[in-house]
Symmetry: C3
Subunit: 305 residues, 3 copies
């Protein structure tokens, strides 16, 4: 059923309804102890990363190995024929013959969607420019569900670069399947885009846009921080102006609820002070474990016979 | 028998007689359904790529995994000790201790041959400068044999960069084992080298050299196109002059036989117009699948106990 | 027992006493025929290489595959989130969730030690700046033990860059567990550091510092050569002055004992003339095989259930 609906791939958070999400959350939980399975024996995952990655690539690869499969791919476009001038479409029409599923990260916003048009094997979007990063948003929902015990009824702050942050875009869309209150916290220059806002309004999701976060801290169940991404700015001066606009510090935790959790898709640069790391409310490293569980579930659903 | 003859490796197309080729074509066909075999369990392939690659490296690695083996290696010389000034010979005398077979791509024409002199495990030449690329030529013959049903009696055009194209050099040599009519189509600056011509004359293979291809289209069974390779030109102005000399378009297909096939080792840049891709005569993406079959056959023959 | 003592990782040669070393030498010998084992099936090794490597990375990966495990990682920091400004500590707190053991090479002297503070899985130091490279030193001792039949009582010369050479630092420390006579041979600028000398004095190991090696050749059982490492010099003129200070030639072998062995951790540049390679006294390529055995033993001890 999942395979039928997502057989062409996971390109956008918009493909998921509440039932799909809850199904994946349940399957992810079942994966926690699958560390030496034969479920995907003989299967090959291709990981084509045209932009740097630590968590996304390594968690997909670890997931594949834990389930008994294998991995081919490249860690940079420079070592592929793209370097000789090959188009992405031609690369996909080649790699589909050598693998059972393709995970792709690319600086171009429509890259994964375009790839899925050309591929006979499922494409998983692992980040397409400033566009989307749906599997990150799925693992984020798993994190919240497991740490907070529920999704409905939560007050959730999303802070940082809401304009270029692909994770934020996918996250806003997934949240629209639940009864949550969203607080978008950003400097004006990096405000959430109209397309996300219109989508949320259409789905009757309550949200507010604010610039300062401190007054919200006693209210929030979840604060999801993001990095200001240097690589998305055309104008480096624009970046310099906003790069240090938010720095979450240990003292900020004082006013938060006991059950408050601080999330981040990572990498973080300066936006969370290291003295926060030791708090049990800081769950951004644990979040990377939920990533492994979610990616195991996705691969198992797409590839198991 | 194959193992005995090719135990030191596959360095040049000149190692192959008609019987060897037909044996590999037969073995390749048997490989089509081997997607989850244990034949090479416990074996390790090393892929040492000093030049970029998509098809060659990934198909060798996929083949190895499909047969149950594993892969180590590097995707660029920059991450190896070559960067610190180590010689290729020393690299080989190290890697031979960690693997059962070494696939090497290098910008130097004699690289693979030199490697095989130092290695106790088989070396497979995956492209040595402007020299040879024998496994590409073998998969090309498999493609023709499967798509045209035969090799003898065919009219085959080879077009593009016949001077620097390593695939062309290996292909001309392999074709000399069959009763084919060859048409070498290129601008004068990129004409086929004397060494290939002398080899073909000596073996009594009929060939013609021409500059224009359109008048041949109704005659050809196969047109094998190649890329003008920027990276082989010392003088970039020379490259600019010839880079767009041939552009195969949809309208060129009109005058071709029903059974005509258009091949390309890929990557292609501008030399085949994208509107050709949808024709069933365009088989360059299917060609990449034959690559996987051929490389499975080669690895199985060299490495199975 | 080994697992208990080294469960946090192998960071420094100083962790090893004579009993630990002899245990690993024995275990390494037992590994010689383990080429297709299931001992580490389901286990994942992460290899995080921020500096180029051929032998160390490929032998760890080969060892892991020979024992049935799998490998994730990166071959260069440029393809990881370090490129986006992530700290090494954050990278470790991520990768520990995707793997059972982390092998790390980094240009910073304290990198591996710092990593082990943050990691819940064992860290193996595969070279930390000019600091240490303990598994190289362990394989070097295995080489000597197997080739000379013993360690105690030997006259051992260590020559080249004794100041910046991390292998040398680890080696001096390991040798302090045995009754050996050490000869440190280097130009004054690259003399062994005080910290190694004080350590040896404290442990009552006899050593001499000399500048010329020829007069020692009839006395030595082992000559361990090292590369002058360009990448460790701040001042390139300093490097140019000393880079060719020692060149071991075939004629140097004449005065050596019948049982003399010439070692090198590789890569070598010009410091051993190629005409030496064919001598049975030149065992630096064989040394790389001992590396595979030692790394199999280490991984088996740390990771087997």
């Amino acid at each position: 059923m999942f395979k039928e609906k997502f057989g062409e791939g996971i390109i956008s958070a918009k493909q998921f309804n509440r039932e799909d999400i809850e199904y994946l959350l349940k399957k992810s939980r079942e994966m926690v102890n699958s560390t030496n399975s034969n479920l995907l024996k003989g299967k090959i995952l291709a990981t084509l990363f045209f932009e740097p990655s630590t968590r996304t690539r390594l968690s997909f690869e670890s997931a594949m190995y834990r389930l008994g499969g294998n991995v081919i791919g490249f860690q940079s476009g420079d070592v592929s024929s793209i370097k000789k001038g090959e188009s992405l479409a031609d690369t996909i029409r080649t790699v589909e013959n050598y693998s059972d599923c393709i995970v792709i990260r690319h600086s171009m916003e429509g890259a994964a969607k375009m790839a899925s048009r050309f591929s006979k094997v499922p494409i998983i979007n692992a980040g397409s420019g400033s566009g989307e990063h749906p599997t990150q948003a799925l693992l984020d929902l798993l994190t919240i569900r497991e740490e907070c015990g529920k999704l409905d009824g939560l007050n959730i702050g999303i802070m940082g670069d809401l304009k270029y942050g692909r994770t934020v875009h996918s996250l806003a869309v997934l949240f629209s399947n639940f009864d949550v209150n969203l607080y978008f916290i950003s400097p004006k220059e990096l405000a959430v885009r109209n397309q996300e806002k219109e989508f949320l309004i259409q789905r009757q999701i309550k949200f507010k846009e604010v610039i300062q976060y401190r007054s919200l801290l006693d209210l929030l169940d979840v604060l999801y921080m993001t990095r200001i991404q240097r690589e998305r700015f055309v104008d480096i001066e624009e970046y310099e102006k906003v790069k240090n606009v938010y720095i979450f510090k240990q003292e900020d935790l004082i006013n938060t609820k006991d059950t408050f959790i601080l999330m981040h898709p990572l990498p973080r640069i300066t936006e969370i002070s290291p003295d926060v790391d030791s708090s049990k409310k800081a769950i951004y490293f644990k979040q990377t474990s939920y990533g492994l569980m979610m990616r195991k579930a996705i691969l198992a659903e797409l590839l198991a016979e």
